[in-house]
Symmetry: D3
Subunit: 192 residues, 6 copies
């Protein structure tokens, strides 16, 4: 017997569905080890909870080390809404290539515990913990069961195989050896 | 000058939009006073953050008194994903009138801190704090900027004007004086 | 050979599709035996007509015994539009937990033959035949090929297994023995 | 004060909405006078019931004179589901330019009272009353609050201004004077 | 192993996807042989590029012989946007059965090289090359990965099996022998 | 009189709509002057053709100077399909942060005249003209009437006001003075 799939994911026989199909012991209350830019995203999406399939939402805990950041990234299929549980975050997003003077406007805000902020679908955004001594924690929700994440530096400079350094040197208006240096870094993913 | 509206809500001139249109000092870190069934839902939706318009997501803090509950309710336009921040919750939802034996199945789970649970769009669900001494707190996200909430008891027995007691007595298979008694209660809303 | 499925339902090879895939001898002209609350819903959805898959509509005949009702219920995935074929119906729905004074408003109407009424997606609604001597009949259409139906009393008091009577007693502000009595009833489905 | 509009239609202040915004005394039980091809469509859409706005459904009564037809037409924004209330209908639709042998397949069926048939979105379809002595009546529902209707003969030969007869003669492989004759007819609308 | 399918089409394992899944050597720069009404549509949709699945777009080259036309047709699931690469086109579409005087309005335009025109979803439209000596070429894009096309004459007069000539004679207000003559033509498809 | 708006854009009275509302003399056949990275995008969207509103498509001509590029960018609300009219293009996109080994895969292809390539919604992509002597030209279509474009370098290094160089230095693993140098560049938009 092969499984029925909906939207690419297995769809269980309704007679066999149970509460565990809508549940994950995700330990979102527990701090995570952050990566070298100082963050960790623990995303609970349709890969973790099969019952989320087609339902258009997911949730994440984000940990920030002191001075850590969730670096500039986009979600190709979701808007994000975030609230700060612990610490302080400096957050922002940049608008698209609108006609000037609205072009590439950077909207930023310092968020304290309990504040809420919205990152519209597809826009480049980041969160940064400006506190050199204390970690920060946020809960974020995304408007897709499979929102995707594209960390800009990783996708541009850490792709497999690398993008041609000719292309990137001209795109970023730097020397090719700067691109080569960037491409030689280890671009660590912070999504787990 | 009258405002441009999209989806019934004012759409600001792009030149005048700023970070505050995507922000709310919502104090989601602060406990709320619960109502008489022992809960309080603090929902941050498009009414609180204009920038959420059309973006399909909202977030809420839910407080539960000891033995308090967020009573059986539905969201007509959203799926909900919830994580427990403090305490323990007994949660559940009931499936629709599917063919037996899947008809009106009750799926329930005891959630501890950090657990995640999903309530599919439109299904009747509740959360109950089984601890007689400690409050509980959850963060929930909903897949609409205006999800709506229908508390079953309030809508059925507390509507304005009341639904005919003839109709309700037969629907709930009780005497009319039981319906009259139910309709005489004060059905307090827990959504703020 | 396993079948291709779209949206969880079998999708026939286009070469083998024929008119019968879009047809059902549904006998919607024939009266149905009503259940103990005095109604019967004969729904023609994607389970009856495979060709409805992904097309977002279904149709139903509803029979009402004298003084019978289609008791308070919701459709989690559809708006309903209804027209009366025979008799008279007293119909209504209740709005969601909007800010007062719009909160839980009950909108009702007496419908005569040929009248049309709309029940918006996800809202609790009912139809009642106020005539003690004559049955009533309606045709209803729903904006989904699989709209779902949740009869409130059945889902709340007749779920399998039952919801805890502690939870329901507090939610409905009645004694636990009232809940126990309600849960002991036979909650008959009127959807066929 | 100018009105709020959603989707191009006036959206009333929620405080002022009432049951009549979801109601129409449409007299769908009453026979209509049919046009010269022998049919009449009485459509109840968002123009008749403001509360249908955004809700994705509408309903119609269709009257057919003896040997009358609802001639080949499409709904650009809706699937249709139809049930026969009185008489007999010969109905059909034609598939699109699929690869042969599935190309332009004509699927037809004779429908008796109580039968249900589906016309998928955008496909050319018709209903014909083959009975020379008795009228027929159907109720149809459409998956849009504003489905649109395009009667093929009217749009092709009765447009204002006319399409060039050079274009149509070649498209329909007939002489220009046949097109001229067709364009000289009075192409009566049967949608009211 | 059977393949995973999404939306009816095979969905490759993400580990095996490569650039060729998003590519087609479609030769859209090359003239095509036109059919007997003088056109050829070379459509690149999800059948040609598997990676288009769910992404909601496709592209086509259209060739027009001198005095050739892409005859009146609809796309049941897509809006079309077109730009002229070579030659001149006389294009138009007809609105639906709106209330008079907007009913069945014919909107037309002569397009020169570099002009852009839009054909809204589901409306009957055509393009005609008025030049008796030079061919014309256009690039068109459609808002679906599987837009469908219904050539009006082919679907109405060239279906398999034919629609009853009784029905068509009355619908088009012509003699049955005219219908018979039309149905005897060879209705050649111009979509490849 | 204030205008009716749908989706934020003016919706004309149907009685006043004409063919010009669906037309633009866009001169897409004419070469454009390219910017300093060697490209120019001439996008025809809902701002240029009001009749595109809600219809979900737009079209663009892209000019590439010899060795010019349309640098890495995303469309937050659209998939793109592209065909080469003149010259040769080296194109590619990078997948999102999928689990390794599918993480940040770079899919690239050399396109010749007439080839077609797809850039899925929200993914970072570029086109580069590898020919040092000849320009290249493409037509691209996007699955939104207002797709948006985010040029990565411009949004990250050229925003107004600038993103903190502390944040960017850590995100891109370079010295702050490299960021300062990048932020001092003139980031020219190539969308017109």
């Amino acid at each position: 017997m092969h499984p029925v799939r909906v939207n690419g994911f297995v769809c269980k026989n309704p007679m066999e569905v149970n509460a565990d199909d809508f549940f994950k012991a995700a330990a979102l209350d527990k701090p995570r080890v952050t990566n070298k830019v100082g963050s960790n995203v623990t995303l609970i999406n349709v890969m973790q909870i099969a019952g989320l399939n087609t339902l258009g939402i997911s949730i994440a805990r984000i940990d920030y080390a002191p001075l850590g950041q969730n670096p500039p990234h986009t979600h190709p299929r979701a808007t994000e809404i975030l609230t700060v549980l612990e610490g302080t975050l400096y957050v922002g997003f940049v608008t698209s290539n609108l006609p000037a003077p609205a072009r590439n406007k950077f909207f930023s805000k310092v968020l304290n515990k309990g504040d809420v902020f919205v990152f519209p679908v597809g826009l480049i955004h980041f969160q940064f913990n400006p506190n050199p001594h204390q970690p920060a924690v946020a809960i974020a929700a995304l408007s897709s069961q499979n929102p995707g994440a594209i960390t800009i530096a990783n996708a541009v400079f850490g792709s497999d195989p690398p993008i041609s350094d000719d292309v990137l040197a001209k795109a970023f208006q730097v020397e090719k050896n700067t691109i080569d240096w960037l491409q030689a870094q280890f671009w660590e993913n912070n999504h787990n």
